[in-house]
């Protein structure tokens, strides 16, 4: 029985012989290790060649992994086993071989025989040619000049020299027969000539021919493409140096998002136009341009050319609306606390003021002299409307002077409003239920109506019928003050959200006009008794006087023109002007403020 290893030894020596042969004496040391005498090398050459020729594996292209567990690799032509060569090389040997063997790079492993083959020069050259996609044959010229056998040039001699047929000279009988058959069929009426299309309203017609031209014009949606801005100095191939980026600018440009960049590219400088490369982002940019055009909104913007001057409402000049108060004339000093409310006597000679210092003072209007001071608690007998914040919040007098209404702000109670009759010393409570926090009450100057301003709305009650006639929605968060026009048909309401609303009772329950001239909460509003004036006081320290003409003609809306902003009060603790009232006969306005002064503007 043959030893497995002996056979292997043989084949190993064979392969080493081959190696030596092709490598040109590269592995001399190994020969000796194989134990063969040098002298026999020449004799063995022919046999080896033959053996090399013979060693041909007959297994075909079965995967060689199948022989992994066997000592042989396959079978030669004679049916004998081809044994695997002895692989004594470990990793270190392999590495040393790699390092030391100059022919290592041309050594390939033949899986069919299990031997290492060192390729010859010609083989290496062949491999290289094949790798570079050339023909394996060195001598083969793939670019040989073509021989044109057929060309466009008319040759002297024909390609074929057959003479022309006879039938090319005489008319065809078959064709004649066919034509005569057709003619006969037409004559007999069997074939009809092609019908001429009646195109008066043919297959294709203008669907929109009868359409109105104006509609068509509207459908014509030609939108000129937005223009590309002209290139600037940055786009130049040789821009001035100030357009080139320095380090910071470049770093910034790179940091920025593409959409945020001021320039979509970095300006570059070239010595000549010849050295400018193709624009690398050309396709990208063209695509973006197309995208822009595609996504551009196809909505035609209808521009109306209106002179902005025409949009301003035609208001009369303030000069034509005189008289109205313009300048501060007198300052009434004496109170030590903020002055909540002021009131002028009907004669216009006296002014009463209620303050947080717990006193009511009476002033002579024309000299700003305080003539009387009453500490709250004492009886005050004056034909004036007094308002002071103690237990009683507000007192409103009827125009005839016999009735007065008082307000006590109390969320829970229905006894917020009381109406007192002075002559009989009787009080009555007009409301059975609580309708919200009552801010202000007022009598109608002429008719038996009673106005109650709650937090969000103004209710108007008919005192004779004892029912609510109207409810005005102020559109404000918190009404602070209310005044009724002396004619009785108009009401103004100031609110803590800086608004002043004018109600026309004949028009609607919504405000006819909202005035937002104040910067801060409106604290007080007042009408003049007969001049067409009203004023509003605000926490921003100003009093705004407006002209408000009310026409007898019901069709004509009231004319409201702000005419003057009166300043003078100092703002303290976020409180500015707290109350405002007009002189009964002159176009003068009094205002009381948180700075403990009353000011008269004339």
């Amino acid at each position: 029985e043959d030893s497995v290893f002996s056979g292997l030894e043989d084949s190993g020596s064979d392969s080493e012989e081959e190696e030596e042969e092709e490598g040109g004496g590269g592995g001399g040391g190994r020969e000796e290790g194989a134990g063969l005498p040098v002298e026999t090398a020449g004799d063995a050459f022919c046999e080896v060649l033959c053996a090399v020729q013979d060693i041909r594996n007959t297994v075909g292209n079965v995967p060689m992994e199948w022989y992994r567990d066997f000592p042989h690799l396959g079978y030669d032509l004679d049916g004998r086993k081809i044994y695997k060569p002895i692989r004594s090389q470990d990793e270190l040997d392999h590495f040393l071989d790699k390092m030391e063997n100059p022919d290592y790079w041309r050594t390939v492993h033949d899986k069919q025989t299990g031997s290492d083959i060192t390729l010859s020069e010609e083989q290496v050259a062949l491999v290289r040619r094949l790798q570079s996609g050339r023909f394996g044959d060195v001598d083969f010229n793939e670019y040989q000049p073509t021989v044109e056998y057929f060309s466009r040039d008319v040759m002297l001699h024909p390609v074929t020299n057959r003479p022309a047929d006879k039938r090319s000279f005489i008319p065809s009988l078959i064709e004649k027969e066919k034509v005569s058959k057709l003619v006969h069929a037409i004559k007999m009426g069997w074939i009809k000539p092609r019908r001429v299309e009646d195109d008066s309203r043919g297959r294709y017609y203008d669907l929109w021919a009868s359409e109105d031209s104006s509609i068509l014009a509207r459908h014509k949606m030609h939108l000129p493409a937005p223009k590309i801005p002209l290139p600037g100095h940055q786009e130049s191939y040789n821009p001035p140096p100030e357009f080139l980026f320095n380090e910071e600018e470049r770093a910034l440009w790179e940091q920025q998002d593409a959409a945020d960049r001021k320039l979509p590219f970095v300006p570059r400088k070239f010595s000549s136009l010849r050295s400018v490369p193709a624009f690398p982002r050309f396709v990208h940019e063209r695509f973006e341009r197309c995208l822009d055009l595609y996504l551009c909104p196809r909505q035609r913007k209808m521009r109306v050319n209106v002179d902005p001057e025409d949009l301003i409402p035609k208001l009369p000049k303030p000069r034509d609306l005189q008289p109205f108060p313009t300048t501060q004339s007198l300052v009434y000093r004496g109170h030590s606390g903020l002055i909540r409310s002021i009131s002028v006597s009907p004669t216009g000679q006296w002014l009463a003021s209620g303050s947080d210092d717990g006193s009511v003072r009476f002033w002579e209007v024309c000299s700003s002299r305080c003539l009387k001071t009453v500490q709250v608690g004492g009886a005050v007998r004056r034909p004036v409307c007094l308002t002071h914040l103690s237990a009683v919040h507000q007192v409103a007098w009827h125009a005839k002077g016999d009735y007065l209404a008082s307000v006590m702000p109390d969320h829970s109670s229905h006894l917020q409003v009381l109406i007192h009759q002075v002559s009989r010393r009787r009080s009555q409570n007009p409301f059975r239920r609580n309708k919200g926090l009552v801010q202000r009450v007022s009598f109608h100057p002429l008719r038996p109506y009673f106005f109650v301003a709650t937090q969000r709305s103004v209710r108007i009650y008919n005192l004779l019928k004892q029912e609510m006639t109207k409810k005005l929605q102020a559109n404000a968060k918190w009404i602070s003050s209310m005044a009724v026009h002396p004619g009785g048909d108009h009401v103004i309401c100031g609110s803590y959200d800086c608004r002043l609303s004018w109600f026309d009772l004949d028009l609607s329950t919504k405000p006819y006009r909202m005035l937002r001239h104040h910067k801060k909460a409106v604290r007080g509003v007042a009408y003049h008794r007969f001049y067409p004036l009203f004023a509003s006081a605000s926490d921003d320290g100003s009093v705004i006087v407006c002209h408000g003409t009310v026409y007898n003609d019901l069709l004509q809306n009231p004319l409201i023109v702000p005419v003057k902003v009166l300043r003078g009060h100092a703002v303290s603790q976020d409180l500015g002007v707290l109350d405002v009232t007009f002189h009964p006969s002159q176009p003068w306005v009094f205002s009381s403020g948180a700075d403990a002064t009353i000011r008269l503007y004339t």
Binding site: G348, Q349, E364, S367, R369, S585
Partner: protein, 423 residues
């Protein structure tokens, strides 16, 4: 530098120069012209002393350079310019300061005594030297106006009007220094703001917040007038303590629709009243009818009449002083308006001896001396007061007085010796 032909003239014979045209530079101002006149006078008269002059070109005071003045006035520079010159009015010199206990509402002065009404419900009599002589107390409320009526030797009659709706007629003996309330004039239903005695001293007129004017007799008698009490008046009210004998008005003039702020007598038969209803009305006291109405646009605080120039000056709440001619029936009623104050004009008074000068007091703490020939700016601003000025007055003896809310009554000495005053 252009030259102008100018001829100087004056009505004061002392300073007259030759009536020949001079060529003077167009840019010359008051100082230059004054120097020219002084040089001319010195050349004529060795003993002439330097005098400051003011110059008038066609009745207007020269305040800028001559050329710009003529340009604004539209005077041709081709002709000979007639320039009048007068001795410059010296600035009033403050003399005395009389302290009161409270605000001074009114002042009336004659050549000897000064009468002031105050907010401490009294009237005071002072000598012109500033010595407190007498305190007249009796009103129950603020004294709004005071007036002298007549002086017979040592006894004088004086009037005080008050917020307590009465006017009191007092008799004051300056030797014994005793004051006695002679009559209590009842009838007004509002505070009496203004009183004026007629030139003869036999009647006086009062204006009140109740919109009425009432004319009373100013002659003290020994018997009280019967007062028609309204029947529904409580009986108790009648027993109130009262000074002097009750007097009722001779005549009531009603027509104003607002409070009467100021009254005065134009002559012995004419009363002029200014009111808050924007009108000045002139009444005939014989028939008790209204003669003329002058309508303004603002509340009138005060009026003053000068018999010298027959003009009415009014101070109103729009800070202007306006001059009116009460006799014109048509055309523009306002002859001139003097604008310089920045507050209500509360007092205005014509000079007793000068037809062009007036003084005004205002709520802007200033007293201003005006000359109607220079309407753009006042002659002098007297900024002595620290608070509102309520009253001003002149005396013929050369005193100007002003009182106000700083409790002080100031007197100023002005050069009354206007020998060239025109008149």
């Amino acid at each position: 530098m252009s030259q102008l032909q100018a001829r100087f003239f004056t009505e004061n014979k002392r300073y007259a120069v030759d009536d020949v045209p001079f060529s003077i530079p167009a840019a010359s101002e008051v100082q230059d012209l004054s120097h020219v006149i002084n040089t001319l006078l010195q050349a004529k008269n060795e003993s002439h002393k330097q005098v400051e002059f003011d110059f008038l070109v066609r009745g207007q005071f020269l305040r800028t350079s001559l050329s710009s003045h003529m340009e604004t006035e539209g005077i041709s520079t081709e002709e000979v310019v007639e320039i009048e010159y007068v001795e410059r009015i010296a600035a009033p010199e403050p003399e005395e300061c009389m302290m009161h206990d409270d605000w001074i509402s009114s002042v009336d002065a004659d050549t000897e005594w000064i009468l002031t009404g105050s907010y401490d419900k009294t009237a005071r009599i002072w000598s012109t030297e500033g010595k407190a002589v007498m305190t007249v107390a009796g009103h129950k409320d603020v004294v709004k106006d005071v007036a002298w009526v007549k002086r017979d030797g040592l006894t004088s009659l004086l009037l005080t009007a008050s917020l307590d709706q009465t006017v009191l007629l007092w008799e004051w003996n300056s030797e014994r220094n005793k004051v006695k309330a002679r009559h209590c004039c009842r009838g007004h239903t509002g505070s009496v703001d203004t009183i004026a005695t007629d030139p003869t001293g036999s009647k006086f007129c009062s204006g009140s917040w109740d919109k009425m004017l009432k004319i009373w007799s100013a002659v003290p008698t020994e018997e009280a007038d019967e007062v028609e009490e309204p029947p529904d008046r409580p009986r108790k009210k009648q027993k109130t303590e009262q000074l002097g004998l009750t007097r009722t008005p001779l005549m009531t003039l009603s027509g104003h629709s607002e409070a009467v702020s100021s009254v005065l007598w134009c002559d012995s038969e004419e009363v002029c009243s200014a009111s808050w209803d924007h009108t000045i009305r002139i009444w005939d006291t014989e028939s008790g009818t209204m003669k003329t109405t002058l309508t303004g646009s603002k509340v009138f605080n005060c009026i003053s009449y000068s018999p010298l120039c027959r003009r009415l000056a009014s101070g109103s709440t729009d800070r202007h002083i306006r001059l009116w001619d009460p006799r014109t029936k048509d055309g523009s009623l306002v002859l001139l308006s003097l604008t310089s104050h920045t507050g209500w004009v509360t007092a205005v008074k014509w000079a007793p001896s000068h037809e062009h000068q007036l003084v005004s007091g205002s709520l802007d703490n200033l007293v201003k001396l005006w000359d109607t020939r220079s309407c753009k700016a006042p002659l002098y601003d007297l900024a002595a007061h620290e608070d509102k000025v309520f009253c001003v007055d002149w005396t013929e003896s050369g005193l100007m007085l002003s009182g106000g809310a700083d409790n002080k009554l100031y007197t100023y000495r002005y050069s009354a010796c206007q020998t060239d005053a025109g008149a």
